[in-house]
Amino acid sequence: MTRRFLYAVLLAVFLLVCGVVWYLFRPEKAFIDNPVNEPPPPGVPADDTAPAPNSAHSPGQQ
């Protein structure tokens, strides 16, 4: 009974530590998936509105 209780406590502690470690080093936190919109540096004209034409293409398409 005591040994079983000890195992249960160890398992609980292990799971708790795993949870804390996962929370601290969440892999999805490293993912960059957010829009930004920084203003141009001083002296740089505002961005022209038209996007770069045909700028998305695979190397094979060239």
Binding site: I32, P40, P41, P51, S55, H57
Partner: protein, 145 residues
């Protein structure tokens, strides 16, 4: 005293001088485009423009505009010592300079280029995944006309 015909001419001359001085000052304050290029896909999808500016204070800034790249882990902006970077393998062991962690995978953003970076050597901007060493997208730079 000034005659009626000479006064407007003198006024115009003074105005022209002031306008010229204003234009020169504005040109000195404006940033100079050093190099620019367009992003193309590498091992992932990317698009947009990369422009290298020299600011009035001498600092060099890389600005990404109309920019979008696939999301990914631990993406960084690199300058690579190559003419182009069509995939990962071709530039995996090429000399590079890290400009910083990618601020966002969409939208306009600026990155300061350190003073000691020789821009004649580094001709490609790459969005590089440090976690898996993958070249997501690249923009070969060409001197501005």
């Amino acid at each position: 005293m000034l005659s009626r015909t000479k006064f407007p001419a003198l006024a115009l001359l003074v105005a022209a001088v002031f306008l010229y001085i204003d234009a020169v000052q504005a040109r000195e304050k404006s940033a100079k485009v050093l190099e620019k290029g367009k992003f193309h896909n590498a091992d992932k999808t990317g698009k947009g423009r990369a422009t290298l500016y020299q600011l009035a204070d001498g600092k060099r800034v890389l600005r990404l505009t109309h920019f979008a790249v696939d999301n990914g882990p631990d993406l960084h902006v690199r300058l690579i010592a190559a003419k182009d970077a069509r995939n990962t393998a071709s530039v995996a062991n090429t000399d590079h300079v890290e400009l910083g962690k990618l601020k966002g995978n969409k939208g306009s953003q600026n990155y300061e280029v350190p003073e000691n970076v020789d821009l004649s050597k580094y001709k490609v901007v790459s969005i590089w995944c440090n976690r898996f060493s993958v070249n997501f997208a690249a923009a070969p730079l060409k001197a501005a006309e």
